[in-house]
């Protein structure tokens, strides 16, 4: 059937911090929802359905969407609760798109939230590993990315200095973003290289923080999107490619990010992207660690394999470069897991709508957003200023 064109027409975020002691989990989510709806003068009565994303074992609240249903505006409405790991925020946005594109709903609210200070995220993440072979050596996100970064360095020849430049870019970009968590205006490559070693080659400043935060978007159908936003961020492609259960089943997982390749190749075909470095004006990608961002440059086709380090050396992905990557500061600056990938999508939408404030890139017509999670899974969206 012919899909109904869909567009993001509103986005809102909390002020992300390591500990939001001033709010409960429900109040945190509601802060993002209220900001999102208020940005367009919308009320809960205007919303047809809700898609909620949260990794509930991180805070330890079972059926969290049910506990918070009323506060999220879900009473009397369908509430689709997704939890697909780090990808979940992008899964939420993609679900919002499908629910609108199918013609079933006109305005769908997507919300992702996580209050990591109230739980033990790394303990929960450890449960994704094989209980016998993987949990002891690749516990949590840091262990996983250390193993991945080692393979990436081996395959690409990327250096610690190049990874450190990613860390510097992210934390400096974050200073332009009022919502970002980790803002380090004076950070230097040397500081990154001198930061504590967590698991070789990952140093403290190579890794994303743990944040409390939430994000919300409204996805609208063609018939109403133009009434809600002057420049809606139209969905040009929404593609998911997940992968096998265990990291050990796919060596070279970071050097060869096959789910990212599969998803981007499919999405580029749908959206008519021939040269991603040329055709995108900005990208918001889910880079939990510095080395991951370099690998993602390669696997997204921003550069040739092995040239991820060169791309950051040349400043291509800086705010002033040809293809700014993560003007918001990205995951390296803000990481409330259930919201993180939705923040990527929301930031891409704000760039397309021309509403990103101090970190707005000039003249954005087309933006890429990715989510990363599970065992190197990818949920990816391409947004554009014009309907596809």
């Amino acid at each position: 059937m012919t899909p109904v064109p869909s567009a993001i027409v509103a986005a809102g975020q909390t002020d992300h911090r390591s500990r939001r002691l001033d709010v409960s989990l429900g109040e945190l989510a509601r802060e993002a929802v209220d900001r999102c709806l208020a940005s367009r003068g919308l009320a809960f009565a205007d919303i047809d359905a809700i898609v909620a994303g949260n990794m509930e074992m991180f805070e330890g609240i079972y059926l969290v969407d049910q506990l918070l249903a009323a506060g999220l505006g879900g009473t009397g409405k369908p509430v689709f609760k997704l939890n697909t790991g780090g990808t979940v925020g992008a899964s939420v946005a993609i679900a919002c798109h499908h629910l609108v594109a199918s013609g079933r709903y006109e305005r769908v609210l997507g919300v992702g939230f996580e209050k990591q200070s109230e739980g033990s995220t790394q303990s929960a993440i450890t449960t994704v590993g094989d209980p016998v072979w993987e949990r002891a050596v690749m516990a949590g996100a840091i262990g996983n990315f250390a193993a991945m970064a080692s393979t990436y360095i081996h395959e690409s020849g990327a250096t610690e200095e190049q990874a450190a430049k990613v860390a510097v870019k992210a934390r400096r970009n974050a200073c332009r973003n009022p919502h970002a968590h980790l803002k380090l205006p004076d950070i230097t490559v040397e500081q990154v290289l001198e930061s504590a070693m967590l698991a070789h080659p990952i140093r403290r400043l190579d890794m994303c923080p743990s944040s409390d935060g939430a994000c919300a978007i409204v996805m609208a159908a063609e018939g109403v999107a133009g009434d809600l936003a002057e420049h809606p961020a139209w969905v040009h492609a929404a593609v998911t490619a997940h992968d096998q259960q265990y990291m050990g089943d796919s060596p070279k997982r970071l050097a060869v990010m096959r789910s990212l390749r599969a998803a981007s190749e499919k999405a580029y075909g749908i959206a008519g992207i021939e040269d991603p470095r040329r055709d995108f004006d900005v990208a918001e990608i889910y880079e939990p660690a510095t080395y991951a961002e370099l690998a993602m440059y390669e696997n997204l086709g921003f550069c040739a394999p092995g040239d991820g380090g060169t791309l950051i050396d040349e400043g291509v992905t800086e705010m002033e470069g040809d293809l700014p990557v993560n003007p918001s500061g990205g995951v390296l600056a803000t990481n409330p897991v259930g919201a993180t990938a939705l923040i990527r999508v929301a930031e891409a939408a704000l760039q397309v709508m021309g509403e990103a404030g101090e970190h707005q890139v000039d003249g954005v017509r087309r933006a890429l957003a990715t989510g990363y999670g599970g065992n190197a899974w990818t949920d990816l969206m391409i947004l554009g200023r014009e309907p596809r």
Binding site: E56, P78, S91, S102, A262
Partner: protein, 364 residues
């Protein structure tokens, strides 16, 4: 004849459900359902474009519990998503993915291995950490408070609920039969409930192969059209009148209006609830009868009216997250190759907080 545009079921299967499937892990349990559903549809895993699954991380004892089934559900390097709710919600999402043209042939899978979790610990975690958990609530305690109110207001009582359980066991054929006296003599849990009032914890999985109209026609297997669905969520159980379920009737009314159907045009209704009294409550909310006549409809003595829960429902041997999709599979199996209409309901949360329904129509 061209099939009308929409979503279709072309394959269904259940894993063998049992109180404890110690012989299989989660992946193997799910594969039992998936492989049989694929065979039923006459397709292979390579033909599947993606999957929407339903599972609950807490019951699975791990985060991102869909990782356990990604490889055997057609999700590897393809489109896969997980809904943390009854499988009917996963089905509604899968229908949207088909109806916007994104997918043509998908799996919908619900799985749970309840034998591996402690229900009180899991259900306590569903409550506010500061204000609720100190009272040590769980789903049985919430349902007991509901049952006290419901029995007082409705005139139904434990003996009526016991007949629902006995009928479900008889219809399902998975668990050993019990009669109403057995239910009433089972161990008390929380007044007025007894052990057998609650559907037993089970290890279970159900898979559906769903597709668009062109694919259904091409495959040539008996198909059932998924006409439409709807869903609504109520406030948390501590914040509402537990003796009514207006969100259910609203959901059903919405779905019937979308389809242009009347309730009396259905030949099958499946209501999903983990406690027997909740099935009476939900059926009453839909105006399906009162008093002894309503109980009789669950027992099959319909006096000319359509039977309720001919599959036996949750009490017949399914699991949380799986039960609604399992009833959908049974309804689809019953409608394949002939005309007929069914409504299947799935529920999620304490005292059936969220309701989802799907309408099915056989393709003659």
């Amino acid at each position: 004849m061209d099939f009308p545009a929409g979503s279709y079921v072309v394959g269904v299967a259940h894993a063998r459900s049992a109180p404890a499937r110690d012989d299989v892990n989660t992946t193997e349990l799910a594969w039992e359902a998936v492989s049989a559903a694929l065979a039923d549809a006459g397709v292979g895993l390579a033909d599947i474009g993606g999957a929407v699954s339903a599972s609950q991380d807490f019951w699975e004892g791990r985060t991102i519990s869909s990782m356990s089934i990604n490889e055997i559900a057609g999700g590897t390097l393809r489109s896969e998503a997980k809904v943390a709710a009854d499988g009917v919600m996963a089905l509604l999402y899968a229908m949207a993915r088909i109806e916007d043209g994104d997918q043509t042939l998908n799996l919908v899978l619900a799985h749970s291995k309840e034998s591996q979790a402690d229900p009180h610990t899991v259900e306590l975690a569903g409550h506010d950490p500061y204000y609720h958990r100190a009272l040590d609530p769980d789903e049985t305690i919430a349902a007991a408070l509901q049952a006290q109110q419901f029995y007082a207001r409705s005139g139904f009582g434990p003996a009526d609920a016991a007949r629902i359980v006995a009928a479900a066991r008889r219809h399902g054929g998975v668990l050993p039969p019990v009669d109403a006296a057995d239910v009433l003599a089972s161990e008390p849990t929380a007044d007025p409930l007894r052990t057998l009032d609650r559907a037993p914890l089970m290890d279970a999985a159900t898979a559906l192969v769903v597709c668009d109209a062109a694919t259904a026609q091409r495959l040539g297997v008996p198909a059932v059209r998924l006409v439409c669905g709807a869903a609504r969520t109520a406030p948390f159980w501590t914040d509402r009148d537990l003796t009514v379920a207006p969100e259910l009737s609203g959901t059903v009314d919405e779905a019937l209006a979308l389809a242009g159907w009347q309730l009396d045009s259905l030949e099958r209704i499946e209501l999903t609830a983990p406690f027997a009294h909740q099935q009476l409550l939900l059926a009453g909310q839909l105006g399906l009868g009162e008093g002894p006549e309503l109980v009789a409809r669950f027992e099959g003595g319909t006096n000319g009216r359509l039977p309720l829960n001919p599959s036996g429902g949750w009490h017949a041997g399914s699991a949380g997250t799986v039960a609604g999709l399992a009833a959908t599979a049974d309804a689809a199996a019953a409608l394949r190759g002939r005309a007929g209409r069914a409504l299947v309901h799935g529920a999620t949360g304490f005292c059936t907080q969220s309701h989802a329904v799907v309408l099915l129509e056989g393709v003659a």
